[in-house]
Subunit: 155 residues, 2 copies
């Protein structure tokens, strides 16, 4: 089960159409590709797991700069994880876990904003909820994971 | 169809349990109420429409300060609208529209991050999508509405 960084090309974007969380980020990548604003093979924020030649699972990871960090202490760069999704046919086989373990292996704290119903999964992965702060979190239900030596910022 | 600001009390929080988007914001309000950290009747960020004595629809509105504004020009305070939801029994009766019209009546630009499937509704309400900016928007699909004299910030 190998996690790989996904290249932005028409094949990848075609695979993305199978995922439920297909939205303006994907459309924006498609437009850039069509307008030759990005090269075929540019890096994307997406990581995925192929099963044969089919993309079975994916997530998006974006490094947020320390100057915007309102979650961790000491203040530092952290990863925002979103669009974690395993296609129905491949669920309950450890693909989601493999993606999250990969993200944890990058050594930075992680923040995500999962669907409420997926809380059991995130708990198993060692993520914890934060004290809700309306001004910071608005419509989000943030969960965080941090490596040793890192803790939550106090509000 | 009267839109009213909802008071934070046990009755309101009980009504909130009927809504799908019940999450840590509501739980945090409940904890504060139980710990007497807020008074019964404190203002909440919620607005709603009652049908008889039942809460039929609600939304949350939060004023984001101009210094965090990355969407509008000139830079200004704006409203973040989220948790707009009409209970199933009351749908397609104009409750959602009434809430959004109320928000527009406050005279500030509005940003929301709706579910992709609700785009027809938001279009009817005069909201438009923004050019996706990954660093700013991450997992969001932002839509905006602005009063006359306001436009989008250029990226």
């Amino acid at each position: 089960m190998k996690v790989e960084k996904l290249k932005v090309n028409f094949k990848t974007l075609e695979e993305f159409k199978k995922f439920k969380e297909y939205g303006i980020q994907e459309l924006s990548m498609l437009e850039d590709l069509e307008a030759n604003m990005i090269e075929d093979k540019s890096d994307s924020p997406f990581y995925g797991i192929y099963f044969g030649d089919k993309l079975a699972a994916r997530m998006s990871l974006y490094k947020v700069s320390a100057k915007y960090d309102r979650y961790f202490y000491p203040t530092q760069d952290y990863l925002e994880l979103w669009k974690l999704e395993v296609l129905p046919h491949y669920q309950n086989k450890g693909f989601g876990k493999a993606l999250v373990e990969f993200a944890k292996g990058l050594g930075l704290p992680i923040k995500t904003n999962p669907k409420v119903k997926s809380s059991v999964f995130w708990e198993k992965m060692g993520f914890t909820s934060v004290e809700y702060n309306m001004e910071r979190d608005l419509g989000e239900n943030p969960l965080v994971w941090y490596p040793e030596g890192v803790e939550l910022q106090s509000n």
